[in-house]
């Protein structure tokens, strides 16, 4: 049950949103206010868009159904980048954490690749994988990989010696040790970074689309920019934001289900 103070907070949050929209609407309307800064009353709308038109455009996209194909492509790229990046990160992280030789060998290269601004790889990926979803997935993978990799590496390194020794005494083989001790321990770190990695997979997909594509929400925004259709650009941004929030919420739900074994803040139940 939300208490009265949280209800009040929600009301204020809503008011803030309405106030922002009103200011946006009034300031960009060609007729409501005389032009203050721009010499032409239509210029404000040209640069900043008009909220009503932005919502109209968004509504059109959903009502006509044109947006769904683009959203689906962006979602698919995000999911693929997330799954492939996590898989690689998990594999490499486990390998390097459990093999000191490999870790010592790869260490400078991992550091160099991680320091590199990897968004700059997008044009190269476009050349290698074409303008279809392949290049976007590749960009997302490079972003997700390092987050997962470093977390897994840390997770394996931080497994308590006692837990490992205990599992060995209980009869765990090397493979069972990996499956029942190292991977679960690493997974808790992967889940801790889930919000980050899903977010970056999404960034990879959208940036990739924006830099060159034929489908996706990033492509819609790119198209709108090409025709100076600022309302469509804002509509695209709006759709992306809502979508990112939904993804984040989905991650939170998944996290709650998968990390039941971890103590949460404020949980005091002990018998």
């Amino acid at each position: 049950m939300p208490s009265s103070s949280t209800k009040l907070l929600r009301v204020w949050q809503l008011l803030l949103f309405v106030a922002f929209m009103v200011v946006w609407y009034v300031a960009t309307s060609p007729t409501l206010l005389p032009p203050i800064y721009f010499d032409d009353p239509h210029k404000a709308a040209f640069f900043f868009g008009e909220p009503v038109k932005v919502f109209e455009r968004t509504w059109d996209w959903f009502a006509s159904g044109t947006i769904y194909a683009h959203l689906w492509v962006t979602l698919l790229e995000t999911l693929l980048a997330f799954i492939i990046g996590t898989g690689f990160g998990l594999g490499m992280g486990l390998w390097l954490a459990l093999s000191p030789t490999a870790s010592a060998l790869f260490d400078p290269y991992i550091k160099a690749l991680n320091s590199m601004p990897r968004v700059i790889l997008a044009p190269i990926f476009a050349v290698w994988f074409g303008l279809d979803i392949g290049s976007k997935v590749a960009l997302g993978v490079t972003l997700v990989f390092f987050i997962v990799f470093f977390n897994v590496y840390q997770g394996v390194r931080e497994v308590s010696y006692t837990v490992v020794a205990n599992a060995r005494i209980l009869g765990a083989s090397d493979r069972q040790l990996l499956r029942h001790v190292y991977v679960p321990s690493a997974m808790s770190w992967v889940f801790a970074s889930l919000h980050n990695s899903v977010g970056l997979a999404f960034v990879g997909a959208v940036v990739g689309e924006y830099l060159g594509s034929s489908r996706g929400v990033g492509y819609l925004i790119l198209q709108a920019e090409g025709t100076f259709d600022i309302n469509a650009v804002f509509a695209g941004i709006l759709v992306l934001t809502v979508f990112a929030l939904l993804l984040d919420w989905a991650v939170t739900v998944a996290e709650r289900r998968l990390l039941v074994w971890q103590p949460r803040g404020g949980e005091t139940e002990k018998i």
């Binding site: 308590s160 599992a167 060995r168 005494i169 074994w261 971890q262």
Partner: protein, 268 residues
């Protein structure tokens, strides 16, 4: 297997640790220690005397630099598969429920899921945790986690049980309850136990025999004391009997010098 062979024998065991910068530290020197089948042996000694090192040698987690280890008459190579180990610190897998922790050893040995779960529930009941099978370790108290660890070890029915100050983190009441519980489980199915503690009273009230270790470095057994107190015992009550007090002062007398030595080393 030789019928008269001890369950566990450490013969002239020396353990020297070498640090990466070339420093050498001899934790244990020429220690000889035997545990007979069905015998409960405690090892006491001042802090830092290499008690845990001896136990890790017996478990096969560490290899001795010198001397030999025999398990049921056969030389130990690699991990001691005949032994169960109760650790001092938390050793449960936090991502597994109490039941899943208890079944872990069976699972590693390829026992079917349903059978393992049934046996785990039986053991959880035996250690007084009926109905707690679905809880995760963080939802249990320290004493309950020790019970889960006990069930996790005993479900595999090991010939030898190694215990490293398993109850040292518990409050005194919980600790005495656990000690009585351990004695009860042990007398129902007598295994060889090697119990490490720094608490002399705990050692006397549980054991058939108490071994005193000298202060480190290069510690070794300096005295062996058979405990002729009658069984079954209640660990809280037996501490008040005259015989207990007699044995206690005898062993304490032998230990005192070593404890003082160990304190003096810590001060320098």
């Amino acid at each position: 297997m030789v019928a008269s062979a001890p369950a566990l024998a450490l013969e002239q065991v020396t353990v020297t640790f070498v640090s990466p910068d070339g420093g050498r530290y001899t934790a244990v020197r020429e220690a000889t220690l035997r545990v007979q089948p069905g015998e409960f042996v405690s090892v006491v000694g001042p802090t830092g005397c290499g008690k845990s090192t001896l136990l890790n040698i017996a478990a096969g987690l560490l290899r001795p630099s010198g001397g030999k280890v025999e398990v049921l008459g056969a030389p130990l190579d690699g991990l001691n598969t005949k032994a169960g180990y109760l650790f001092q610190s938390e050793a449960l897998m936090p991502w597994r429920t109490a039941r899943a922790n208890v079944t872990a050893g069976l699972e590693f040995r390829g026992v079917g899921r349903a059978e393992a779960a049934a046996r785990a529930d039986e053991w959880l009941q035996r250690v007084g945790l009926r109905g707690f099978g679905d809880r995760y370790p963080h939802q249990l108290s320290g004493g309950m986690r020790k019970r889960v660890a006990l069930a996790q070890t005993l479900i595999l029915d090991p010939q030898i049980i190694l215990m490293d100050e398993p109850f040292s983190a518990l409050d005194i009441q919980t600790r005495q309850l656990m000690e009585n519980h351990l004695l009860e489980l042990w007398s129902a199915n007598r295994k060889s136990v090697l119990f490490i503690t720094h608490d002399l009273e705990e050692a006397i009230s549980l054991s058939d025999r108490v071994i005193v270790l000298s202060a480190g470095p290069a510690s070794h057994p300096i005295g062996e004391f058979p405990i002729d107190l009658p069984r079954p015992r209640d660990v809280a009550e037996i501490r008040l009997t005259p015989r207990f007090i007699e044995i206690h002062s005898l062993i304490w007398h032998a230990m005192k010098e070593e404890v003082l030595k160990s304190y003096a080393q810590q001060l320098h």
